[in-house]
């Protein structure tokens, strides 16, 4: 018989060890799944984890990892701040969409003016779009004590409706013959977010993700606000005695995560996506939740987790085209990662004892 025994303090070893164990377990369970589907599990795992980094087309795919990881990292860092404080913003997807819509609106309103000021204005507008969308659940929570999980999640669907309205209506390309979708940003220099170094995949979004990771790391380690966030999450009562203002904390954490999600949306729409289209969003806001936990809610961990997640996407696509793996199998594989992470996480707070052994000890 197994028994779980609570550790007096979370194990430091397991805190950092669980992501690694989770990845290994995912590979094993995923390998079994692939084998059951009649594919060679080794070939699949190699295609997912090795080929994008060191395979034949790595020169192209490495850059694509950055493209895919950039928004995930940016959003996940913001979410992690809130999660640490026990504030659950689940609606980053909606904030991402609103950042893109409002940021793109500013850029398209200036069309076809060429000015150096347009892109910075769009960036600000994008951050504002995400921020204001996150303020709705934040204010409702602090004023009326609503549940921010539900409100932020429901607002995703509202944002998607606004996106559809934008693509078919107020942002529609007037030269697009009635088809939905905005003007293309890649052909409008002042408002586009191109690759900074050709072939690297690095655009302003990637730069922003890395800079934010650094800033938030410092915030959490050195700033009083970082201390308050951690304290509020670990010991809410102690935090109150310590003079932490919960309202301020909610507004701050939701605001930052919303603004970062909005930024991610703006960088994406003006860069890789290239236009506002009806289904411009592809789930970054939700996947970022996995990334935040996989990265241990730590900014530097999140950078690694974001890259790993990007690897499963890019490698997963390779496996789908080259080996003929169904896309659902890849999604299951990604889901396993969170499942095992949460499962193995038990080890950082509990230790496993064999019952027989415990009896003897008594």
């Amino acid at each position: 018989m197994l028994r779980l025994e609570r550790r007096p303090t979370p194990s430091r070893f397991w805190q950092y060890g669980t992501p690694v164990v989770a990845v290994v377990l995912t590979m094993i369970a995923g390998g079994l799944l692939f084998a059951l589907l009649g594919k060679d599990p080794f070939a699949v795992i190699r295609t997912i984890f090795w080929d994008p980094l060191f395979g034949e087309f790595a020169w192209y795919l490495r850059g694509q990892l950055l493209v895919k990881a950039g928004p995930l990292i940016l959003i996940a860092i913001g979410l992690a701040l809130g999660f640490r404080a026990g504030i659950w913003n689940i609606g980053a997807e909606g904030q991402y969409v609103m950042g893109a819509v409002i940021g793109a609106s500013v850029g398209l309103a200036a069309y076809p003016t060429e000015s150096r000021l347009i892109y910075p204005a769009m960036v600000l507008a994008g951050a504002f779009g995400g921020w204001i969308w996150a303020m709705i659940p934040a204010i409702l929570k602090t004023r009326f004590n609503t549940n921010e999980i539900l409100v932020s999640l429901m607002l995703v669907y509202v944002a998607e409706t606004i996106l559809a309205k934008a693509a078919t209506g107020f942002l529609r390309n007037p030269e697009g013959a009635g088809f939905p979708g905005s003007r293309s940003f890649s052909s409008y220099k002042a408002a586009s977010n191109p690759e900074l170094i050709a072939g690297s995949g690095l655009h302003w979004g990637g730069v922003a993700a890395l800079v934010t990771a650094g800033l938030v790391y410092v915030l959490l380690q050195r700033h009083i606000l970082g201390f308050q966030i951690k304290l509020a999450g670990q010991a809410p009562r102690a935090a109150r005695f310590h003079g932490v203002n919960p309202t301020r904390l909610v507004v701050f954490c939701m605001g930052i995560s919303g603004a970062l999600a909005g930024l991610a949306g703006l960088f994406e729409v003006s860069g890789p996506a290239g236009q506002i289209s009806i289904d411009f969003n592809s789930g970054y806001g939700f996947t970022a939740i996995i990334v935040a936990f996989l990265g241990r809610l730590n900014p530097l961990g999140i950078v690694l987790a974001g890259l790993l997640m990007a690897l499963t996407y890019v490698g997963g696509e390779m496996a789908a085209t080259n080996i003929g793996l169904p896309s659902a199998a890849i999604q299951v594989f990604q889901g396993m990662l969170l499942f095992f992470l949460l499962g193995v996480d038990v080890l950082s707070n509990y230790r496993i004892r064999f019952l027989l052994f415990v009896k003897e000890a008594r």
């Binding site: 087309f57 192209y60 078919t168 939905p180 890789p272 290239g274 289904d279 592809s282 996407y313 085209t321």
Partner: protein, 361 residues
């Protein structure tokens, strides 16, 4: 022992992979990008049937690859690039939203042929577009719908307000009203191609409004599943695929997309070296749009009427958009006997007179 077997398997796998790469030189590789899963039973399923037809037609001479559920946007561009890099000679991108990614990637790979379904942009000589005249099939479904409705309310689940979908709504309504002047149509926009839950919700909402015939322009069988729950009161049609599992009711007929002849023809052109950019738009006459069996749930005279409509369109004797027709606001569109031109149809962004509700914009 066990470990050794595993290692040996891996080695064989590697060996096969390399051999495959070497052989790929003389085979023509046709690749397909799908917007939904093959198991949608509709749109993507039919495209995959087309892929299988290519394999059947050319056997060892071709190799195919595909990817399901590719989001329309930045991800599509990466998937297309990967396919082009991995040696695809012709790539079929099977959803409207792949339009810009297709053209962007085509610019970088001038030797790879790209075929984009349902779009209108051919910015490079290696991009062709193709579509089917689904509105021809809608005319037949509209005829059945107009005859079969008892509540005089028919419902239409639209995916996105793009011309292709608007054509279908207009064509359905024109022909329903032709046989039943009292008929009205309610349109619900689902803003998705494939989302069984959303499609089912849309169907439910329509049924609650008193609709007893549902047409859908989304990819799954969910609307039919919802109609099946009504105990025979509500009927619908197979969309994109035959959806025969809902026969004889609620599925009373279907519009079947048949991409196989086109795919075989275009792959043949690549093999022969005669491939050229073009815009293909075939319908019932060309075999791209098929009408599935009309079941016994439909009275014989209605069935005969629908089949006559099908044959008239197929032979070219009748065009579903023949005047006199007015636009929704009452302004004249087509004079008596006048036939809509393809340009107007391809950019159709207005409802015809009699339809209530707006096209979102």
């Amino acid at each position: 022992m066990k470990r050794r077997t595993l290692l040996a398997t891996a080695a064989i796998g590697l060996g096969l992979g390399l051999a495959g790469a070497a052989q790929a030189q003389d085979k023509t590789k046709a690749c397909f990008v799908y917007v939904g899963p093959i198991g949608d039973g509709g749109w993507t399923y039919q495209h995959d049937q087309g892929r299988l037809a290519v394999i059947e037609a050319f056997g060892d001479k071709v190799e195919t690859a595909y990817q399901e559920s590719v989001p329309e946007g930045a991800d599509a561009e990466r998937v297309l690039t990967q396919m082009a890099l991995s040696g695809c000679d012709i790539i079929f991108t099977t959803s409207f939203g792949y339009m810009d990614p297709t053209n962007n990637v085509a610019a970088k790979f001038p030797n790879v042929k790209f075929e984009h379904a349902t779009g209108y942009k051919r910015e490079h000589p290696n991009v062709a577009t193709y579509n089917a005249r689904f509105y021809e099939g809608r005319a037949v479904m509209g005829t059945i719908a107009g005859r079969m409705t008892k509540s005089n309310k028919i419902g239409y689940i639209g995916s996105f307000p793009i011309p292709e979908v608007v054509q279908g709504i207009n064509s359905s309504f024109i022909h329903a009203r032709k046989v039943n002047p009292d008929v009205t149509i309610s349109v619900v926009w689902a803003y998705t191609w494939f989302d069984p839950a959303k499609e089912a919700d849309a169907a439910k909402a329509l049924i609650e409004q008193g609709v007893d015939v549902i047409l859908a322009h989304t990819d799954s069988t969910a609307p039919l599943a919802e109609a099946a729950k009504s105990g025979g009161k509500v009927i619908g049609f197979g969309q994109a695929s035959d959806m025969a599992e809902y026969k004889p009711s609620p599925r009373v007929s279907s519009i079947i997309d048949n991409w196989a002849p086109y795919y075989v023809k275009r792959v043949q052109a690549v093999i022969d070296g005669t491939w050229e950019s073009q815009d293909a738009w075939e319908g019932i006459g060309g075999g791209e749009v098929g009408i599935g069996e009309i079941t016994d749930a439909v009275p014989a005279e209605v069935k005969a009427e629908a089949e006559a409509m099908r044959d008239a369109i197929g032979s070219g004797a009748y065009h579903p958009f023949t005047g006199p027709l007015n636009k929704q606001d009452g302004s004249a569109w087509l004079a008596a006997g006048e036939v809509a031109d393809d340009g107007t149809l391809a950019g159709m962004n207005f409802f015809v007179e009699g339809i209530t509700g707006d096209i979102p914009q």
